[in-house]
């Protein structure tokens, strides 16, 4: 049982550095079992050498390895040895590629390399093999909340993949909003005519599927547990409730139509002849194959569609966003009229016609071909004129105020997501006169951080990430359909499939203890030392993923399967009792302590750099690939997320003679780019507090800097480090060098 060191002398490492003395540093100071050198360590021969040592028996067996070669981003596959902990010492991108050649630099460059080796050895010593907790369980059953088109599609697709599904529907029937439509916009070439909604077929398929259970008149009273072991109480408005267990959850709770009563300027409510798109569907269904009639029985001969009614508007009570489907929906509805009787006048008053893609544009052209008239106009009011109506608008093309008569006006109003409680405000938004989002909880999660999935914007429970639309802050729970984002039926069905894919993945991952994206496959998970815990609750509050509950005494209760392994809890803990086997206060603390801090007379400052492993560290890496020079005084430690940075590290660093600390995390704020949501922001907050510590130590506050660094900052990142060097030149070396 020993730690093996492997020093590569390839890629110029051997030429630029005194590797003999580095070996000595590794063994004597790093105090690891041995240090072998190889001139091409990533070659099959090199890797086989390492594997052989790991396969050895007894004392000779290498159980941890220190790879002293290139960046952890290079040759990752070659130096990946299953569960065996590996510390990567970055001598190539981290040292020789950022340091100029020439004897005058050799000393500092060599010191840099030696320090990184000391750090790597220390890290390896502190790391332990991460294995799954063993408390995994597998449950092949997906709970689908909502029995509309999205929900039914999700259940059927899950079943098709060999999994079970239960649909929880609050109404007494399946179908949702799509079930109230006459037809939907075309999904297939040539995209010219409305098509059947397919809802009836879906309902039939769901009822025929023995892998699918349907709970009608039902809501969710309580959701507890975690992926692989969700415990759900299903309440019924008609019968007695049920308790069921699920592996994952798809939330397809759809939307509520915008309340058109907020649009008095369009005379909605004053007359039954001003209707919303959804209300027109009812008239169309009632008409069957015959002509569409108004409430008063008059056959409609002249209908006007008002687009963006109460949408794309900053007016109080209006929706700022666009609901996406309404242009195509009005086109479809105009066709309801034209297809029964071409003589019926149909006019669409729009600002922008938004019919994207191949299908959309063809559908638009088809409507024009059927004599649906489109006018770019802004509708100011709709007046009641006897039994009929007058639509007043500004024709933006003819640049004049205009009006037209109509016997029916259809308002293209928007969608409000049924996303449950907004846990960030936990209050009814309507109180402030804003958009009313239904605030009764949908999932009733018993999570410490609130009963529903966090909202992104406008009440939609969407992912914040462009590359990762199914990123969720509640592992194992995936939203799909209009609750996630305004969308049409076709998109919602695709969305249902995407969500089911992720749900299945969550089931499989939780069964084996693997983390979900972005640290996919990570087996480590946080644990805490109960003796030290002060029940301060910071970890439970700060966890971006609501993974940590509290027991009755207020101690944290970890739910491994919900956890995303970012370490924010570890960074938050004021008494440093939280750790992962392979990533802990110790693995980083030991590294920074391992650095050999020269006494002040040598005038060689030491700067600790803590860099986000996903953005800042790659940026420094790519800067090195460009051979951008960096200071010889920096010592970089990659962290899972800046949110995992515990202030103790900063204190220790400053206390042990470092002259400055630079932290590099992702963008924070509304458009945050931190892949663990608030990690970067938390770090900034904590570091604001470090000021006190600094002053008690009589240290200048400039010695600690926190920066937002993007992966593209290949030129900026090294400059930020040079800035710290200048600061130290200005304020002088740390007095804490012993």
């Amino acid at each position: 049982m020993k730690i093996g060191g492997y020093l590569c002398t390839g890629c110029g490492i051997g030429d630029r550095l005194d590797t003999k003395s580095l070996e000595t540093v590794a063994v004597r100071e790093g105090r690891i079992g041995f240090c072998k050198t190889h001139d091409f360590l990533c070659s099959q021969a090199g890797v086989d050498m390492i594997k052989a040592d790991m396969a050895a028996e007894g004392d000779e067996k290498v159980t941890k390895a220190v790879i002293m070669a290139c960046s952890r981003r290079a040759k990752t596959e070659s130096f990946h040895f299953g569960a065996t902990p590996v510390a990567r010492v970055n001598l190539r991108e981290g040292v020789i590629w950022i340091r100029p050649e020439g004897s005058e630099h050799d000393e500092t460059t060599q010191e840099m390399a030696a320090d990184y080796i000391r750090m790597g050895c220390a890290e390896a010593k502190a790391m332990q093999q991460a294995d799954a907790s063993g408390e995994q369980s597998k449950n092949n059953h997906i709970m689908v909340v909502g029995g509309g088109m999205t929900g039914m599609t999700a259940a059927l697709e899950a079943s098709k993949a060999g999994y079970y599904a239960s649909i929880i529907e609050k109404a007494d029937h399946l179908g949702g909003v799509m079930g109230q439509l006459k037809q939907r916009q075309p999904e297939r070439s040539p995209y010219q005519n409305p098509q059947d909604t397919g809802v009836a077929a879906l309902i039939a398929a769901v009822e025929a599927d023995d892998k699918i259970t349907v709970y009608l008149n039902s809501t969710i009273a309580k959701t507890a547990g975690a992926p692989g072991r969700f415990e759900v109480d299903i309440a019924s408005t008609v019968g007695t409730g049920t308790h069921a267990e699920f592996g994952a959850i798809v939330q397809a709770t759809g939307f509520t139509p915008y309340d058109a009563n907020k649009l008095p300027e369009f005379s909605y409510g004053k007359t039954p002849n001003v209707v919303t798109q959804l209300e027109l569907e009812a008239l169309a269904l009632a008409a069957g194959d015959g002509p569409i009639k108004r409430a008063d029985g008059k056959i409609v001969e002249n209908v006007v569609f008002v687009q963006c009614a109460g949408q794309r508007s900053q007016k109080e009570g209006h929706l700022s966003y666009c609901s996406g489907h309404c242009c195509a929906t009005s086109i479809k509805q105009a066709m309801y009229f034209k297809d029964t009787n071409p003589e019926i006048e149909t006019t669409v008053l729009f600002d922008d016609i938004r019919t994207p893609g191949a299908g959309g544009e063809n559908f638009y052209r088809s409507a024009q071909d059927k004599f649906v008239t489109f006018r770019k106009g802004k509708v100011s009011t709709v007046d009641v004129k006897g039994n009929d109506l007058q639509v007043n608008f500004k024709d933006l093309i003819l640049d004049e105020d205009a009006h037209m008569d109509a016997d029916l006006v259809v308002l293209a109003t928007g969608m409000l997501p049924n996303s449950g409680t907004d846990i960030d405000t936990m209050k009814d938004k309507d109180a402030s006169g804003e958009i009313k989002v239904p605030v009764t909880s949908i999932l009733n999660l018993n999570y410490r951080q609130g009963p529903d999935v966090p909202h992104l914007v406008n009440g939609f429970a969407d992912s914040h990430f462009i590359c990762f639309p199914y990123e969720t802050r509640r592992t194992g729970i995936y939203t799909a359909g209009p609750v996630r984002r305004p969308m049409d039926a076709g998109q919602a069905q695709t969305d249902a499939m995407g969500a089911v894919m992720k749900a299945i993945q969550a089931i499989e991952n939780s069964a084996s203890g693997r983390a979900a994206h972005p640290r996919s496959g990570d087996l480590s998970f946080p644990t805490f030392r109960k003796e030290g815990c002060t029940q301060c609750k910071r970890c439970t509050v700060e966890c971006p993923f609501g993974a940590i509950d509290e027991d009755e005494k207020g101690y944290p209760k970890y739910n491994e399967a919900r956890c995303r392994r970012c370490g924010t809890c570890m960074g938050a803990c004021p008494v440093q009792v939280i750790s992962f086997k392979n990533y802990s206060i110790e693995t980083v603390g030991a590294q920074l302590k391992a650095v050999d801090v020269p006494d002040e007379f040598q005038e060689k400052p030491r700067i600790l750099v803590l860099a986000c492993e996903n953005d800042a560290y790659p940026a420094l890496d790519m800067a090195a690939m460009k051979r951008n020079e960096s200071s010889a005084f920096i010592r970089v430690i990659p962290v899972r997320c800046l949110g995992s940075t515990n202030t103790i590290w900063i204190k220790d660093a400053l206390g042990s003679g470092y002259d400055g600390v630079v932290m590099m995390g992702c963008k924070k704020g509304a458009d945050y780019q931190c892949h663990f949501v608030k990690g970067s922001e938390m770090a900034h907050v904590r570091m604001e507090k470090i000021g006190d510590t600094l002053s008690t130590m009589n240290l200048e506050s400039e010695r600690v800097a926190v920066h937002e660094v993007a992966i593209t900052d290949i030129d900026r990142a090294p400059k930020l480090l040079d800035e710290m060097v200048e600061v130290i030149n200005r304020v002088g070396l740390s007095p804490f060098k012993f």
């Binding site: 016609i353 024009q368 071909d369 004599f371 008239t373 006018r375 003819l398």
Partner: protein, 211 residues
């Protein structure tokens, strides 16, 4: 003054000008397909002289501005350069629609007064249909005298040098005054045009019958 057929049309289409244009104007069935991008309007060489460029005319048609469209001088500004046709993203044969609208406005008796292109165009048509081929000299002189004799003398004096140049170059022949070129089967030619005009009138006429 507007024609009887004009009244009949107004009657028939009850303010649905788009339908009227679709049914009766050359290539008029394309008007509905315009998406108001305006590329035609920007492509026209005489654009600045259009009160209403094509795309706007199409919008006016949808807005039932029958009077304004048919009495407009705009479509008479078309030089038949086909820039609009070549660039239209919806494939509208805009040049033909402009010709069609111009002709229709004439047929409805709503053409603008003293529109030179309208006058010249009529002259050209009369000239070519007379003999089956154009007599450029007569056409030219006709043009100069279109606004009456005195005007004509002035204009033609101004154009004297040009005329002489052309004669020198043998590209204008006084012989044209007497007889000049023409088709041999003139009677057949005239019969053909007459028939065509009948058929077309019938089409419009039949459209004007009450439903």
């Amino acid at each position: 003054m507007t024609t009887a057929v004009n009244q009949a049309m107004v009657e028939k289409y009850k303010g649905n000008f788009l339908k009227e244009v679709t049914d009766n104007v050359e290539e008029g069935s394309w008007v509905k397909m315009c998406m108001q991008c305006g590329v035609c309007s920007g492509s026209c060489p005489l654009g600045p002289h259009w009160d209403h460029p094509p795309q706007e005319l199409f919008m006016m048609i949808r807005a039932n501005k029958r009077e304004e469209v048919l009495s407009s001088t705009s479509m008479w500004m078309c030089t038949s350069c086909y820039n609009c046709v070549a660039r239209c993203p919806r494939g509208l044969p805009i040049t033909h629609i402009m010709h069609g609208l111009a002709h229709y406005s004439k047929r409805m008796g709503m053409k603008p007064k003293h529109q030179p292109t309208e006058q010249f165009g009529q002259m050209f048509w009369d000239n070519l249909t007379k003999k089956g081929r154009v007599n450029e000299l007569k056409l030219g002189l006709g043009l100069y005298f279109k606004d009456g004799f005195a005007e004509g003398v002035k204009v033609s004096m101004g154009k004297q040098k040009l005329g002489l140049n052309m004669m020198k170059a043998k590209r204008m022949s006084p012989m044209e005054m007497l007889g000049g070129h023409g088709v041999k089967d003139l009677s057949g030619f005239h019969a053909m045009l007459k028939k065509a005009e009948e058929l077309e009138a019938a089409r419009v006429g039949e459209n004007t019958d009450a439903k």
